[in-house]
């Protein structure tokens, strides 16, 4: 009985309280900061922190408290951290996750608790389609957008006989399907390799024998580095043009692998040399603060915070008003480092995708140079299935 009275009082109290401006904002940042994937999470975090510095440590004018945690690329760890942030820390917004399987582990508790999640990287196609959610926003892309753009570019350039290589797992097959959606020519060969393969001599011999006029590869992480080195070493880079997604040629990879990446063509939604004031400031300040050039992941982390900042400012700090907050996030009233930015109705961006080529800059560094625009205001392939 006593419990009931207390509960009733609490409920009445809550009813009586109008949605008022909070005095600070709590952001939960779960990302992969250690292990082989740690380099990606660190880039997102660095971009995010730089944005927070640019906004004076505030989000929408409110002092911000950011809880940074490492998920160690383990789904169970990510799930535990998310539960704790939602139940104990009561965070207002969440972001940070790099990998799709980790997002899958936390999406249910986060979205069910009606906590807004701003994805700074992974964009699963189901969340863009039939499972689209009012509380889920991605400032990045859908997982096959980069390969769609690559496929379109290879098709437009008039290549007719392409060799495709990707690892044999669902993510690899998805990316290849994105490529196939826009490339209409024939295939000189298509190889699905074992995940984590070290040596690509066999595939390179087959590739050479198949005499393709272009190669599309998607091999994330260390596999891609192995492939690039061996492709270069076999002298194939002089014979057959190599096309990949922007992930295989991010700035950190270029700096680490060097020479073998030179000349490769890839597609991404952002680049160092995109000419707009916010991007120039982002690139210059990032280099000054961290002593290296930023990559896509860092740009996405930067945009994630800038989006939060704009939305909280638009609702004048009343973050408890979920409907207003959702509307403010959808409006996305911020200046993205990629240039013009708007959300589609599935909360994924409609944006340009650029063709980039790896070159040596005047200081001898390997960087991507924007050499063309592949898609202008490109929506993803899944939005029609979204009922939102």
């Amino acid at each position: 009985m006593k419990k009931c009275i207390l509960l009733c009082l609490a409920l009445l109290g809550a009813l009586a309280m109008p949605a008022q401006a909070a005095d600070k904002i709590k952001i939960g940042f779960i990302s992969t900061l250690s292990g082989p994937g740690g380099v990606l999470g660190a880039a997102i975090r660095d971009g995010f922190n730089l944005a927070l510095e640019h906004t004076g440590g505030k989000v929408g004018g409110l002092p911000a408290e950011v809880l940074v945690e490492d998920d160690q690329q383990k789904p169970d760890v990510a799930r535990q951290l998310a539960d704790r942030m939602i139940k104990r820390d009561k965070v207002d917004l969440m972001t940070g996750i790099v990998f799709q399987n980790l997002l899958q582990a936390v999406e249910q508790p986060v979205l069910q608790s009606q906590t807004f999640y701003i994805s700074p990287n992974t964009g699963p196609s189901d969340l863009a389609g039939e499972k689209c959610n009012p509380y889920f926003f991605a400032v990045s892309w859908v997982s096959d957008s980069y390969s769609e753009a690559t496929g379109k570019n290879v098709n437009d350039k008039g290549y007719k006989n392409v060799f495709v290589i990707a690892p044999n797992y669902p993510g690899g097959v998805d990316v290849v399907n994105g490529f196939k959606r826009y490339y209409k020519g024939a295939y000189a060969g298509e190889i699905l390799t074992k995940l984590g393969q070290l040596d690509y001599a066999v595939e390179l011999s087959q590739l050479r024998a198949a005499k393709p006029d272009a190669v599309f590869f998607f091999l994330p992480g260390g596999m891609g580095v192995n492939f690039l080195k061996q492709y270069h070493q076999a002298g194939l880079n002089k014979e057959v043009p190599l096309f990949g997604t922007g992930w295989s040629f991010d700035q950190d990879t270029l700096a680490a692998v060097g020479e073998p990446t030179l000349g490769a063509l890839n597609a991404a939604h952002w680049n160092l040399d995109l000419d707009n004031p916010q991007n120039r400031k982002f690139v210059a300040d990032f280099e000054k603060k961290y002593g290296r050039l930023p990559n896509e992941y860092a740009s996405q982390g930067y945009d994630a915070l800038m989006l939060m900042d704009a939305a909280v400012r638009d609702v004048k700090g009343k973050i408890e008003d979920k409907a207003a907050m959702r509307k403010a996030l959808e409006t996305a009233n911020f200046k993205s480092v990629r240039g013009a930015f708007r959300f589609n109705r599935n909360h994924f961006p409609v944006q340009n995708y650029y063709l980039r080529q790896v070159v040596k800059d005047d200081r001898g560094r390997f960087v991507n140079k924007t050499v063309g625009t592949i898609f202008t205001d490109h929506p993803d392939a899944y939005v029609s299935a979204c009922k939102m």
Binding site: G35, P36, G38, V39, A42, N168, I191, L192, T193, K194, G196, L198, D199, A201, V202, E203, S205, Q206, A209, G222, V225, N226, K229, Q230, Q233, A234, G235, D252, A255, A256, V257, G258, E259, P260
Partner: protein, 306 residues
């Protein structure tokens, strides 16, 4: 499928096998002679590759960096043996696995602290970056030919060392019966330290030779260690000859499996099924080989102990 392509794939298999041999040789000696399961073998391979990359940048020459990295890792291996592993010989395999697993974690974290998370640049030296025309129409990368040459040279050298020298005799005695060898006056302590140092140096050689082909990054040792263990088990624990034959068998099976199983299946079965089954079957071909060998020869191809 032409004969020339088949020949090229055989060369690929030989090269992959010989690179596995460099790792497996050290592993089989340590496993066979000291009865020590050393999971940290892959860490020495990683350290060798990191040292080769750093020294290449420092000296500007891969040719200088290679012997320096090999020697440094050999010394590091001996220090490791004297300070830690020596205390594990009399323990059971479970303690050894736990302790050497801890060494992997320590090595990985230390490497990450010193060199950072991003993989390191180590590219093929300019002089070897081209390819050689072996037969009309068969161009083979020069650096891969060098790996084949180094692998064969090391195999020959190890054979001479083990079969025709006094130290080799001690090693063979230690491998077949440790207690008897001690009783006959072999300085087992010194022998073990030496063997471990040689094993570590071979690891570093493998790491440095493969660095230009593979990503030099934290954790690179673990993925290749599994294959090295398969080689050791197929060849027979403690046998250099077994490691050599086992490595070539694994290298050839993996390479030819990947090259021809998917193509062969397409000829036999419907395309969609072949597309799904081909890569899967190719990637388990190594383990199928191991099962077949162990079914007929449970001690491996060339058993040493008793």
């Amino acid at each position: 499928m032409t004969w020339l392509l088949f020949l090229e794939q055989c060369l690929n298999g030989l090269q992959f096998g010989l690179m596995l041999f460099l790792l497996a040789a050290g592993l089989t000696l340590v496993f066979g002679i000291m009865d020590l399961i050393n999971l940290a073998h892959g860490s020495l391979y990683m350290i060798g590759a990191y040292l080769a990359a750093t020294l290449t940048q420092a000296t500007g020459s891969f040719a200088w960096a290679l012997p320096l990295a090999v020697a440094a890792t050999g010394v590091l291996g001996m220090l490791l043996e004297v300070s830690v592993l020596r205390h594990l010989y009399r323990r059971d395999h479970l303690s050894q696995v736990l302790a050497t697993f801890a060494l992997i974690l320590i090595a990985n974290e230390t490497t990450r602290t010193i060199w950072g998370v991003q993989s390191l640049a180590l590219n093929v030296p300019q002089a070897l970056s081209g390819s050689v025309e072996l037969l009309p129409g068969v161009n083979y990368p020069a650096f891969r030919l060098l790996i084949i040459a180094v692998g064969l040279a090391v195999a020959a050298l190890l054979y001479l060392l083990v079969a025709h020298t006094r130290v080799g005799m001690w090693v063979r005695a230690g491998a077949s019966n440790r207690d008897m060898a001690t009783a006959m006056g072999t300085n087992i302590k010194l022998l073990f330290t030496l063997v471990f140092g040689v094993g570590a140096a071979l690891c570093a050689l493998a790491g440095a030779m493969l660095g230009p082909l593979l990503a030099v990054q934290v954790g690179m040792g673990e993925s290749i260690l599994i294959l090295a263990f398969v080689v050791v088990v197929i060849g027979g624990i403690g046998s250099i000859r077994g490691a050599f034959v086992g490595a070539l068998l694994v290298g050839m099976t993996d390479t030819l499996g990947r090259a021809f199983i998917p193509v062969g299946l397409k000829g036999l079965l419907s395309t969609s099924f072949a597309d799904a089954a081909g890569p899967a079957l190719a990637s388990i071909s190594i383990y199928l080989t191991m099962v077949v060998v162990l079914f007929w020869k449970p001690q491996g191809l060339f058993p040493v102990r008793n």
